[in-house]
């Protein structure tokens, strides 16, 4: 058995990654299980209303490590927990905090996938003698001979599609990554888990951002900044309408996200929504639902998957947040090679700086970037 065949599976202790590991092990592959320890769930526990005892279903909780270890033991594969806390804080938590403080709405999962998970996992895999990695993401990854490129595609279960968070994968990463669940639906994955006798087959899915227990961003920001001995920057400012009329003041831009309706602190006969957040002037613009619609968006820090680069305009569908139904648009090259502009056929609601825009051609991910 040569080392080339060893596959390192990222195991979170959830159903998906456990089933991915089980499928590979039962197919006779040589498998090593790895859990990335990213965040110490006890670190900010009990501060500023953050729950004391982290519950299961969040990465790095002790229960999840226990579950992952048990699955690995059941499959008879070696299993290790790898400490990536320092990198996670540097590459994911810090950027998340600064983006939020700047009035943008970041997606830590994409940051993590782009900067840490795949990159670090591949490196760890190689250093322990495995050449490929596998994860429990719902996506399909195939090599296309004609184009000479690795293509990322939407999975069989569109409801579980995670390609939106995977747009940053490079060709080199895709070439060494397996997504064993890509052609299965979630119910089929649970069935597979049961078939392999995994005790966690019925474990509920996790939903929250792993390092933010309870999902309250503001609690997290306050507690994290306090731990770091930093103060929350003063970002209070004016609340204005799109015509410039001042409606009042707000207490800080990090309280808002584009499209938000609740908690604006002003009375109005018609519902008001956040339209724009200016991180320089701290001005928050609000307006009617109809004003939220935008015809164009610009994205930068692009990564191309099905193409080497965009040379001429292209018809694509663009997804602008996790639960968004991709919308038709024309994608045009920008003066900068790592940026592009998308013009929607129909205006889209709440295009939010800081989120990512991912471009699809049918089932294929063309590429994606960060909305500016």
């Amino acid at each position: 058995m040569t080392e080339r065949e060893t596959i390192a599976v990222a195991m979170s202790g959830g159903v998906d990654s456990s089933t991915a590991a089980a499928m590979l092990a039962h197919a006779g592959e040589t498998v090593v299980g790895l859990t990335l320890q990213l965040w110490d769930q006890t670190r900010l526990a009990g501060k500023h209303g953050i729950p004391d005892a982290p519950k299961a279903g969040r990465c790095c909780s002790l229960d999840d490590v226990y579950d992952a270890r048990r699955v690995a033991h059941q499959l008879g594969i070696p299993y290790y927990v790898v400490n990536q806390e320092a990198r996670f804080e540097q590459d994911v938590v810090r950027p998340f905090v600064s983006e939020y403080l700047a009035g943008r709405t970041p997606i830590p999962c994409s940051l993590c996938n782009n900067h840490l998970k795949f990159d670090q996992l591949l490196q760890t895999a190689r250093s322990i003698g495995a050449s490929r990695i596998a994860t429990g993401h719902y996506a399909i990854n195939e090599y296309d001979e004609e184009r000479g490129r690795w293509i990322l595609k939407r999975p069989a279960d569109l409801a579980k599609d995670q390609t939106y968070f995977l747009f940053g994968l490079t060709q080199a990463q895709l070439a060494h990554t397996l997504f064993p669940l890509g052609r299965l639906t979630k119910p089929e994955v649970r069935e597979e888990a049961r078939r392999h006798g995994l005790a966690l087959a019925e474990k509920p899915d996790s939903q929250e951002i792993c390092f933010i227990p309870g999902g309250d961003y503001k609690q997290f920001l306050t507690a994290y900044l306090e731990e770091q001995g930093e103060t929350m920057p003063e970002t209070d400012g004016e609340l204005v309408t799109s015509t410039g009329e001042v409606l009042g003041r707000h207490e800080g831009v990090s309280n808002f996200t584009v499209g938000q309706r609740k908690g604006l602190g002003v009375a109005s006969p018609t519902p008001l929504y956040v339209l724009q957040i200016d991180s320089a002037s701290h001005r928050v613009t609000v307006g009617a639902d109809a004003e939220l619609a935008t015809k164009t968006l610009r994205a930068d820090r692009l990564n191309w998957i099905s193409l080497a680069g965009l040379e001429r305009p292209m018809r694509v569908k663009v997804k602008i947040r996790h639960r968004h139904e991709p919308a038709w648009a024309t994608l045009e090259p920008d003066s900068r090679p790592d940026a592009a502009t998308a013009t929607f056929d129909e205006p889209q609601r709440a295009v939010t700086p800081g989120q990512s825009a991912v471009f699809y051609d049918g089932d294929e991910v063309v590429g994606g970037g960060w909305i500016v």
């Binding site: 040589t30 320890q37 008879g76 400490n83 250093s127």
Partner: protein, 397 residues
């Protein structure tokens, strides 16, 4: 292991984590599981059988410690001994002196006591890993009640100057506890010469069973038991005696004393030195725990701690494990991931170097073939790691 990743031949070089039972120990324990199962506190003959076995083990331990039998208390191991010494002696307002390189059984207990109003001073070691007795002397205060220092450090093997520290404790009128978990069985003990009041050991670090240990408690030391209940162990530790465990500990101690006389450790030291010299031939490699002359300070015969430049120790441990070599790097945190060793950090290593460090601790039964195997596997693994991992060139803390 169905996936064929675990080679059949494994070399275990993590003796400071735990050791296997020697066959003589298993044999000695065997009758006490089913045949002589009595409760050592019972009046009847079944109880008396058990009592005799416990008493015999006590005699052996008294010989190991060089103390009176009445000064031996059996317990559940090193953590309980360390906890008993600190919690059993210190009250609000007392002062404790310990070191920053102790085992977490002492460090965490000290932190908890600090939360409860005990004043604690953590003294740092010299860069060699050795405690300077003068720094302990400087830490003495009028209300210093206890000094707790380890005999041999678990990460570096460095032997601490406990006799000198014992004299300092005596001058200050403070109690002195020694965590001898790593030292016991590797170096001779003599509690009178050291001048300690308390000393803790654990069976499983010296080829005895897990979950059992013993403590030397000098007569008249007012240490309170952690566990309250029956009048076992002369009221110093409640709870039915772990008879098979105590028998195993007694046999392990007997064999350990024999090893101290028959040159077994000289043989291990020679193997360790050959391993160390071989690994130090790799470029970008160095020894943790050297004095100003670059030579290692006095340390336990079985331990060496080395750094490998541009290597993530955690990945190296995994890579070696998959090649059949068991070693350790740093300490395992709550989830099982590796944290940089607090001992190496206290010695002044930066985090990157501490994370690039590995501990090799040889069993008393180590062989030339073990060393040959490790000397074959480690250079390959290090080379591979350096090729694939830039280790972020020290940018991460």
């Amino acid at each position: 292991m169905q996936n064929g990743l675990q080679p059949t031949a494994r070399v275990y070089m993590d003796a400071n984590a735990t050791t296997p039972l020697l066959p003589e120990v298993v044999e000695a324990m065997h009758p006490y599981w089913m045949e002589f199962f009595g409760n050592a506190s019972s009046i009847h003959l079944d109880g008396q059988r058990a009592r005799t076995a416990v008493d015999h083990a006590r005699e052996v331990l008294a010989e190991l410690f060089q103390c009176h039998e009445a000064e031996v208390v059996f317990n559940s191991g090193g953590t309980e001994g360390d906890n008993t010494a600190l919690v059993g002696l210190l009250r609000r307002g007392d002062h404790l002196i310990t070191t920053s390189i102790e085992h977490s059984a002492v460090l965490q207990t000290a932190h908890r006591l600090a939360d409860r109003g005990v004043e604690v001073t953590f003294v740092d070691p010299l860069p060699s890993g050795l405690m300077d007795p003068a720094t302990i002397r400087q830490a003495i205060r009028p209300h210093t009640r206890l000094i707790s220092v380890m005999l041999a450090n678990n990460e570096t093997g460095v032997l601490q100057p406990v006799e000198e520290i014992g004299r300092i404790a005596a001058e200050a009128g403070a109690f002195f506890h020694i965590d001898a978990v790593q030292g016991a069985g590797k170096v001779p003990l003599d509690v009178r010469r050291i001048g300690c009041h308390l000393l803790s050991i654990s069976a499983h670090k010296m080829h005895g069973p897990k979950g059992v240990g013993a403590m030397f408690v000098r007569r008249g030391t007012p240490v309170e038991s952690l566990l309250v209940g029956g009048s076992h162990e002369r009221r110093r530790r409640a709870g039915t005696e772990n008879v098979p465990g105590i028998v195993g500990l007694g046999k392990a101690a007997e064999l350990a004393m024999r090893s101290l006389e028959d040159g077994a450790w000289d043989r291990v030291a020679a193997l360790r030195d050959r391993l160390e010299t071989g690994l130090l031939r790799l470029h970008g490699t160095g020894l943790n725990g050297t004095g100003g002359d670059g030579k290692p300070v006095a340390r336990a015969a079985n331990t060496t701690n080395l750094w490998f430049d541009q290597v993530e120790g955690e990945a190296l441990v995994i890579a070696l494990d998959l090649k059949g070599v068991a070693v350790s790097g740093g300490s395992a945190c709550h989830s099982g991931a590796t944290e940089p060793s607090h001992v190496l950090l206290a010695m002044g290593l930066d985090k990157t170097r501490a994370r690039a460090s590995l501990r090799f601790s040889l069993l008393k039964t180590a062989t030339d073939a073990d060393v040959d195997h490790v000397l074959r596997v480690v250079p390959e693994a290090v080379e591979k790691l350096r090729a694939v991992s830039p280790v972020a060139a020290g940018t991460l803390g």
